[in-house]
Amino acid sequence: MKKLSRRDFLKSAAMTSLAVMAPSYVKTLADGLAGKSALPNIIVLIFDAMSARNLSLYGYARRTSPNLERFAEHATVFHNHASGGNFTTPGTATILTGTYPWTHRAINQAGLILRRRAGRNLFSAIGDRYTKFAFTQNLWADYLLNQFEHQIDRHLLPTSFSVADNSWGSVFANDLNSSNRALDDFLFQSDARPASLVFGPLEKQLFLHQLARLSVKGYSRGLPHDVTNPKYFHLEDVFNGVNSQLGTLPTPFFSYIHLYAPHEPYRPREEFENIFKDGMKQVEKPESPFADGSTVQALLNRRTNYDEYVANVDFEFGKLIDSLAQKGILDNSVVVVTSDHGQLFERGVHGHTTPLLFDPVIHVPLLVSLPGQTARRDVFTPTSNADLLPTLAKIAGNEIPDWTEGRVLPTLGGEEDLERPIFTVEAKSNQAFSPLTHATVAMRKGNNKLIYYSGYTKEPWFELYDVGADPEELTDLIPSGPVFARVMKEELLTSLNDANVSVEN
């Protein structure tokens, strides 16, 4: 009898799980194709800056996500899921376009998808049989949604469900991207000197006056808010608002919801403050050349605050899911939970605006719950947020677009493939319309992860980690010169080169 290799075993395991899943999935799909009314609703829920590494769902020592764990009992849990980028713009654009940042080119802070590609997006892939709803609290993500405004039936402003905001761009509802950028990000910008000499400071003082009178009851650290374009909100209001919106959408609906939490500033409700007094120690890691000066203790404190906020978000998520189940909405809904990027608390770096692509900043959760799913499934093959678009297109009963770089997710119609490379690209300092020369590219293939740093110093360099055996990415394998490193380097550079050529054309 032929001995099964590890890869063969995984393949057959995937096929077995697919076979088990297939009847109910295919039935849903067939019903969907038969008529609009039988199509499942699709709810995509994105939490900004939620790292899989900080979720107990994925084995984190702190119990940050009991409700996600509960939800996972009726969902497929993807254990090695990667974001397309390491901050909102590229990460979100990868979800929305099913392509990597080197293709969609929303690579800069507040950047946009290449204009000629903007028509190819999640909303067009879902098709016209769905009522399409979109809401994001993050203005940078909203810039992207505004690019396909005409394909969205109901698009809420980022300030919806906020208790205070100083957004003026939304006054010009027919020209949101330009007016937001001109007014909120330039003339009246709050985080730097406003370019408007009279209205800028005046508007800032009025906004501060409004904030001073705002009730922060229940939030002793202050209300959660967006850091770049201040809008203050109560977490529970936002979840309640989303809940009420979902209850009013004509079925079948596709809803894309991108919430700001648990993005910093980490401001949980009082009940979640100081819930993790466990004396957790940081794994010691070498300081990165891109360290921002954060000390080990400062990083640990921030991590704890972040964990508390994640727990608060998880609690609200639990309430939302329970309410949707009670209303019967979940009976015929596919629910997808993921994040646009993660968050880093190591190597002297806090946050995600960094050239680094270590696991905590790109490893994001992914859970997909199908209507009527009663058992949990776990997928360990590396997957990407670029895979969401083809997967959802398939669930919506549509052809998988040939322009996507993603694949249908395993157990949802796709196959597990350990040889498939998964990419994450960070290139905020590179011109969006030029070849990528100033960038970090991470390529995950099986258990190996190659990271390529280009344009930061005179010579580019690589790092290679076996994330199966070394999940903390402590031992760089490049100096030991494994044979597969050369093959991986070639593959990464060829893919990057192909993408660069494609953009130039």
Partner: protein, 178 residues
Amino acid sequence: MGIFRKIPHWPALASVYAVLAVFVYGWTIYWFLWKLPSWIYYLTMPEILTIAAYSAAVNFLESLLLLSLPLFLSVFLPKSWVYENFISVGGFLGIMVGGFLLYFSSISAAADTFSYSLIWPAILFLVISICLAIFLGRLRMIAQVVETIADRLKVFLYILIPVSLLSILLVAIRNLIR
């Protein structure tokens, strides 16, 4: 009808407006040029020009709002206080207020909580500026200097006003026709 008789003539209004416009537009243009290298990274030229159009439209409103201050003083104060020396009083006031706004903009940007300790000094400064402008604007030497500056700055209006009107039109079209 007395009120209308105390509205200064167009040339005088234009001179004072020029002083104010240079502050208002100049500040925005400065920050526009500061931002431009980053915008070029990810915005197309039409998108950048649209930001410029919104900026010019807002600047136009701001400068008109500032002009309303000396205009208001001219209309409601005795004729000899402001109306008869409108260019020098208005120009002097424009320089004082413009300079203060540059300073206020920086301290306001740094503030993260509201405080009346920022507002009352600003109002006090405005009142002192008005008094100083009315008093000093009547002194021959200062009047001459201010009038000369205001006269020289008028040349910018040949660019700023048409550009602003075009910008308002563009903003209106983008918001009404789409």
